[in-house]
């Protein structure tokens, strides 16, 4: 009987800690993201959505845009990949754009860092072409 009580107490404590962790909200982090960056990102202009959202969900945004564009013929939608590249491409000393999938660049930097595949550029241009 005593054992039961102890276990229940333990479970209760666990649940309390869990709930308190879940309810504590903290200020938005600014760590990380030193791996690949771009002028647009360092100037902290807002992207199509706020930065915290884009960090986590940029792939969903691009995917949504791709369905609109390819399947429905809607161009110039917010969050289209070509617009991503226009803003986030870096240029070398001579002003020549550096492909975004090159090591350390805006896209490749983070994707390499966390081992996530970067499939877009098998097909899509890596610098603005027009």
């Amino acid at each position: 009987m005593k054992v039961r009580a102890f276990e229940h107490g333990l479970l209760l404590a666990l649940a309390v800690v869990l709930l308190s962790i879940a309810s504590v909200s903290s200020a938005e982090e600014k760590a990380g993201w030193k791996n690949g960056t771009s002028l647009a990102a360092t100037q902290e202009k807002s992207c199509v959505r706020d930065t915290a959202f884009m960090r986590r969900n940029h792939m969903e945004v691009i995917k949504h845009a791709r369905i609109d564009t390819v399947r429905k013929g809607v161009r110039g939608v917010d969050g289209s990949l070509s617009e991503c590249i226009v803003c986030h491409v870096n240029k070398d000393d001579k002003g020549v754009p550096i492909p975004v999938n090159q090591e350390g660049q805006f896209c490749a930097g983070c994707h390499q860092y966390v081992g996530v595949s970067l499939d877009c550029y098998q097909c899509h241009a890596t610098v603005p072409t027009h």
Partner: protein, 238 residues
């Protein structure tokens, strides 16, 4: 909060490593006075290695015993194995995306396996009869870890770059850069993992190292060819 989690993980890691090391030491010192391999057993050392390999990788004896339990247990363990490999990306840069990507589906194997094992504890009468609260607790804890982890991959994405840089700072004791992304699911996930690490050295999960010390599995069936004398007995006879 970031610092609290860091300390929690320092403690949990210490407990896990030291605790399991102590347990392994204890296991290795525990006397095995008799030859008791479960027959049919191999008669050579290389045979024992093979048998242990099949036991650890394929769960051979469980397969021969209860097929349903084997299906769920094996699915869970293989899923967990793949998930652990995948999590390696937060601690080193060795894993290519080609491996990290496809392994995310292992989460489903893990969750399905655990759910099956949990249902088994409720649904099979003789299993329910011998189940202790800790049996349920371990399953539920692992299940919650699996579900919260899968949530982050498939439902509510978290800032994985932030997570990696947090653990990089954690490993290098770089207190200034210890900034944990503020995703709720992530914090629940990490807290549960820390609990699992803390509990591991005093739980039934010790069967992981324990299997290697099981005399019914790690002995060759050669009592006629080689006289078995336990270490302590050998000392006495000298």
């Amino acid at each position: 909060m970031s610092l609290a989690f860091a300390i929690l993980f320092y403690v949990a890691t210490l407990v896990l490593v030291v605790g399991v090391a102590l347990k392994i030491m204890q296991y290795s010192k525990t006397p095995a006075p008799l030859k008791i391999p479960t027959t049919p057993a191999p008669t050579t050392t290389s045979g024992v290695v093979m048998r242990m390999f099949r036991e650890v990788v394929f769960f051979e004896s469980l397969f021969k015993a209860t097929i349903w339990t084997w299906i769920f247990a094996w699915a869970f363990h293989m899923g967990l194995f793949a998930v652990l490999i995948r999590h390696g990306r937060y601690f080193h840069d060795l894993l290519p995306a080609a491996i990290v990507g496809p392994l995310k589906y292992a989460a489903f194997a893990m969750i399905i396996g655990l759910t099956g094992l949990l249902i088994r504890r409720f649904a099979v009468n003789r299993v329910r009869y011998i189940s202790a609260p800790s049996d349920y607790a371990m399953l539920i804890l692992l299940l919650l870890i699996g579900i919260s982890g899968a949530m982050m991959t498939f439902v509510d994405h978290v800032d994985v770059v932030g997570v990696k840089s947090y653990f990089h700072a954690w490993m290098t004791f770089d207190i200034e850069n210890l900034i944990l992304p503020s995703d709720m699911v992530l914090r629940i996930h990490l807290f549960l993992v820390a609990v699992l690490m803390l509990i591991f050295p005093i739980s039934k999960l010790l069967h992981a190292p324990g299997i290697f010390f099981s005399p019914t599995r790690n002995q060759a069936d050669n009592p006629r060819e080689v006289r078995h004398v336990a270490e302590w007995a050998e000392k006495l006879s000298k």
